[in-house]
Amino acid sequence: MIHINMAYRIFTKKFFFHLILILELALTLVLVNVFVGIYGNSYTLYRPYENILKNSGVAVNYDGNLLFDGKIKALKEELGEDTDIYYSQDVMFIEEDYEKYGLPVSSLPHDGGMVEIILPDTRILSELKLPLSEGRWLSMEKDNDGCIEAVITGGTDAEVGNIYDTPAGKIKIVGILSDDTYELPTGYSLSFGEDLKLTDFYEPFNPNVNLRGSYMIFNRELIEDNTGEEVYLVTTPLIFISYGQLTSSEEASAIETTVKILSPEEEQEDLILADFSQLRKNTDEYMTEFMMELLPIAVAVIIIAAIGIAGTSAILALRNLRNFSIFYLCGSKWSDCIKIMLADIGIVTAAALVLNTAAIFTLTALNMESLIGMDIGIMNVLVTLGTVAAILIISVILPINVLKSKTPVECLREEN
């Protein structure tokens, strides 16, 4: 306790010096967090499919052939219980669909035409997060007022907080997607090749230039809950088929054959199935490449900061040598002085961590993370702690050497 007490005194008496150290360290941590956030954001597109791709299975692109839920269900029955089918999205894009599920077009937002409603597979939606320009991402549950939360692309008359009353329930806009967002995996215009990776499934989408118009996303299960009816729509033709527990390669071939049957007869021969393992490998390689682009900048920032902090700490230790020798004179051990110095650096680190956390919270609160294109998560906490540990180790080496290179008497004599 005495070390912290004495360190606190040094901290307050040499506040300006410490302030420089704190700002230096806090800035480094914020920059590192931004790098990690940007990396995490690129990972965002991968995350909804990560669990699916962990299994054995294939992605199938029934390019140009719309599938109906009924057909998917039939396929699932055919393939058996161990097989699971995930489809990237259902789309409501004809007036009849809207009427059928109690969502009359006139009661929903408009962009001059008709706003499409995208209903991703719930298991995929629960992990999905696209960049926003305003508001926040939707919840999978209804809010306290019983509203279904939705996000919508820009370019419509919808604003955050708007509530649209429909026979199928109240739909509340909680977020506006940024103009440079993505279309969910559709499979359109995709060429399934050896180098296909998951991020390729997404296509850039801008409501101002895209002919498709605007779209809105929410959790389909909440509509089903309100209406008591299962939403039964046209599925876009990209589906993921997870095999579950396979017993043999013959079994896999049999499944693939069954999958091909869904395709029109004349296209069955050309239908390409992308193996999950290949997709996983390609995606991992892409993510590693992306990380390698960011890593040198992040490492350079950390090294420059560490040198700066180590230098400043060493100067601080040199300036404190005289005081430490007086502490020694008054009954402290020389090793206590090292502990006091470590406690001093500890206070600086704690203050920098608080500043860094406050900065990240502010970014999040102001929704800046979406604008910057970063995703804050557990990785930020881990990397922050790792960076702090690395910088702490580097920044105490010089001051400890400064203290060890002199005896208290030498320090007292120098001033004499």
């Binding site: 005495i2 040499k14 007086i326 008054c330 009954g331 402290s332 051990k333 008497v409 007292l412 004499n416």
Partner: protein, 223 residues
């Protein structure tokens, strides 16, 4: 009591540039003495004081303080001796410029783990004894040399040590202030403290009951 037997101190020990600062010193200082250690600059006076004050080490001989042999005892015990048994006053005062008077005087009490209230009381009493209780909250860099030395003495006595060691305590002071500081040391001695003063000023040494002369690291006279 301080007992030094055949003590030698060599700087840069076992190195080519080794220098023997103290050579076979033997010395006994009884409780309650007022001793002056005199000698020319570089004679080894300050080195001896640093060893007596447990802020420096030695290679040969023995040194006992109140019967406890301090050669090769651990850092922790040495720190306790510096904190509890000796109070050291330096020529340049050795005060922390960023602290105020009271904070400087309280310093040994922090390392003695004294509670805040008790420390405050003890520090104010020490300031009272040296006659500067009105300066408690003043920053030390705004004090005169004489006032600074009084702060240093207050800090040296705050833990009620048996021995007060002073290294050229009047070296940076004018004659009038020197007399006042010497009067303080004599008062402390009359209160029962053992006071050892390093000086090259014979007028200061003459005020002490006993003089020990050092030259080239050896005791040449003791009376």
């Amino acid at each position: 009591m301080i007992q030094i037997q055949s003590l030698s101190k060599t700087y840069n020990y076992k190195k080519p540039n080794a220098f023997k600062a103290l050579d076979n010193i033997s010395l006994e200082i009884k409780d309650g003495e007022l001793v002056a250690i005199i000698g020319r600059s570089g004679a080894g006076k300050s080195t001896l004081l640093h060893i007596i004050g447990c802020i420096d080490t030695f290679e040969e001989g023995s040194y006992k303080i109140d019967g406890e042999d301090i050669h090769n005892i651990g850092d922790k015990k040495l720190a306790v001796i510096r904190n509890q048994k000796v109070g050291i006053v330096m020529q340049d005062f050795a005060l922390i410029e960023d602290y105020n008077v009271l904070e400087n005087v309280k310093l040994p009490l922090y390392f003695a783990h004294k509670k805040s209230k008790g420390a405050e009381k003890a520090a104010r009493e020490a300031l009272e004894k040296v006659g500067i209780s009105d300066l408690a909250q003043k920053s030390v860099n705004k004090l005169s040399g004489g006032q600074k030395q009084r702060v240093a003495i207050a800090r040296a006595i705050v833990n009620d040590p048996s021995f007060i060691l002073a290294d050229e305590p009047t070296g940076a002071l004018d004659t009038k202030t020197s007399s006042e500081i010497m009067a303080l040391f004599k008062k402390l001695n009359s209160d029962g403290k053992t006071v050892i003063i390093i000086t090259h000023d014979l007028s200061i040494a003459d005020q002490c009951k006993r003089k020990i002369e050092i030259s080239d690291g050896r005791i040449t006279a003791s009376a």
